[in-house]
């Protein structure tokens, strides 16, 4: 059986296929941060950070970190040729103006119609929304990378989110550790699934109806 890291990398690899050269991409923390490892070196992508970097490169080697060159999570990064620094208001202007081609975020729940709930667990975690609402509502394409179920095995893809929403009808694609869904015109469609599972098991672990693509594919693990 694939290790936890293997599965996370599989998910990241699948997400990387949605990125083509010239795109501007914003990555959330967690699994999305693994996506760049799966891009061909020839694919020129500009990674965007909310604090004010356009054109982030990989993490610096140990000892080469610069406290003044960090991503939005506060961790050291590098830059690529063609990168630029700006203030945060311009960084968010890029988002609001619709200039971010792909945003890849983690999530707690996603609804059948593409509602996103990833910012708050009332009574437990009230961290504030940060840039999640801006990104979710304004990125041209929003991809959610998350485990198919929570730690207790409860489905995270639901008819309606039970947690407070980040933004409504914003998710275009969900990539879980089991399957890949697209959301088109507020309809959830199963596009692909990993060879470690099956459509019937996915159905059992998904708390809403979905249609199955005529072109359904299996991703060999």
């Amino acid at each position: 059986m694939a290790s936890e890291l293997d599965i996370r990398n599989l998910m990241a690899k699948r997400a990387a296929r949605e990125i083509v050269g010239g795109m501007v991409v914003n990555l959330g923390i967690g699994i999305p941060s693994l996506v760049p490892n799966h891009l061909p070196e020839t694919t020129k992508v500009m990674f965007h950070a909310e604090n004010g970097i356009l054109g982030m490169g990989p993490s610096p080697g140990s000892g080469l970190e610069d406290g003044n060159l960090c991503n939005a999570g506060g961790y050291p990064v590098t830059i690529v040729p063609g990168a630029s620094y700006c203030d945060s208001v311009t960084a968010f202007g890029m988002i609001r103006r619709g200039r971010i081609d792909v945003s890849i975020l983690g999530s707690l729940q996603v609804s059948r119609q593409g509602d996103l709930a990833n910012w708050i667990i009332p009574g437990k975690k009230v961290p504030g929304m940060g840039g999640a609402m801006d990104l979710a509502s304004k990125a041209k394409k929003l991809i959610v990378l998350m485990s198919h179920t929570d730690k207790k095995g409860n489905p995270k893809i639901l008819e309606q989110c039970t947690l407070p929403l980040t933004a409504t009808r914003c998710v275009d694609m969900i990539i879980t550790d089991k399957a890949v869904f697209e959301i088109k015109n507020c309809e959830l469609v199963l596009m692909e699934y990993f060879s470690t599972t099956s459509v019937s098991r996915i159905t059992a672990q998904t708390a809403c109806r979905f249609s199955v693509s005529e072109d359904l594919k299996v991703i060999e693990v």
């Binding site: 406290g67 003044n68 506060g74 203030d87 968010f92 929304m129 933004a167």
Partner: protein, 235 residues
């Protein structure tokens, strides 16, 4: 070291800067996760034991990094920010009811700060319009058939920022991603204090590369540098 002239009287000491702070004050701070926050000013406010501050800025840093120090030691009565996730003590104080927190979506928050700095009353955005936690208590209006939220401008009695270099007029340049909210916060203060790594003579900055024109900066102090360990240094 070159002796720097001070023809505009803006170059001052940390002690002179700290004289401006008092209880119940509204203080806006630059920085993003602590990166680009002014360490000596924060340490000085802490040491002066100034309480009941209203703090406005992107986030509450980490418990011992950036503005987080003031928050986690209970010096703020209110925070206006986009998130407090990286500072668990802020969340604890909020849940205990001793810290009031007003959240804005991050892009909206920085526009509100910029609007304050630019002398505007508010900006209209549709971000958060589908979210009652954002719309609560705010005016909405229709424009060409679309709905918008009215997000009011933010200013502060004092703004504190961190920059790489200043000249005696208070012109500022920043270093890499430590720029972040600093240029906005610098404009939004009724009185703005810049803590800087280096002060160069007048004419020592390229007029093309100046990010914050000195007109927005009232006082410049020289920094001793960051006095905290970054999260990534602790691992």
């Amino acid at each position: 070291m070159i002796e720097i002239e001070n023809p505009f009287g803006k170059i001052a000491t940390l002690e002179q800067a700290l004289a401006f702070f008092k209880e119940e004050m509204t203080v806006m701070f630059g920085g993003f996760g602590g990166v680009g926050s002014p360490p000596n000013l924060i340490e000085g406010i802490l040491a002066k034991e100034i309480k009941n501050l209203t703090l406005i800025g992107n986030d509450t840093g980490f418990p011992n990094i950036g503005i987080g120090k003031l928050v986690s030691q209970g010096r703020a009565k209110k925070v206006i920010a986009s998130h407090i996730g990286s500072n668990p003590i802020a969340g604890k104080l909020m849940n205990q009811g001793v810290l009031e927190v007003e959240f804005s979506p991050q892009g909206t928050l920085v526009e509100r700060i910029r609007a304050g700095g630019m002398g505007l009353g508010a900006i209209l955005t549709d971000v958060g319009l589908d979210n009652t936690s954002v719309t609560k208590g705010k005016q909405q209006m229709e424009l060409n058939g679309r709905s918008y939220l009215v997000e009011t401008a933010l200013t502060a009695e004092v703004s504190i920022v961190y920059a790489e270099k200043a000249d005696p007029y208070g012109n500022l340049v920043y270093d890499k991603s430590a720029r972040n909210t600093n240029p906005l916060v610098a404009m939004a203060g009724d009185f703005t204090i810049a803590e800087v790594k280096e002060i160069v003579p007048l004419g020592g900055l390229d007029p093309e590369e100046i990010v914050t024109p000195g007109i927005f900066v009232d006082m410049v102090i020289l920094s001793n540098g960051v006095n905290w360990k970054w999260v990534w240094e602790e691992n």
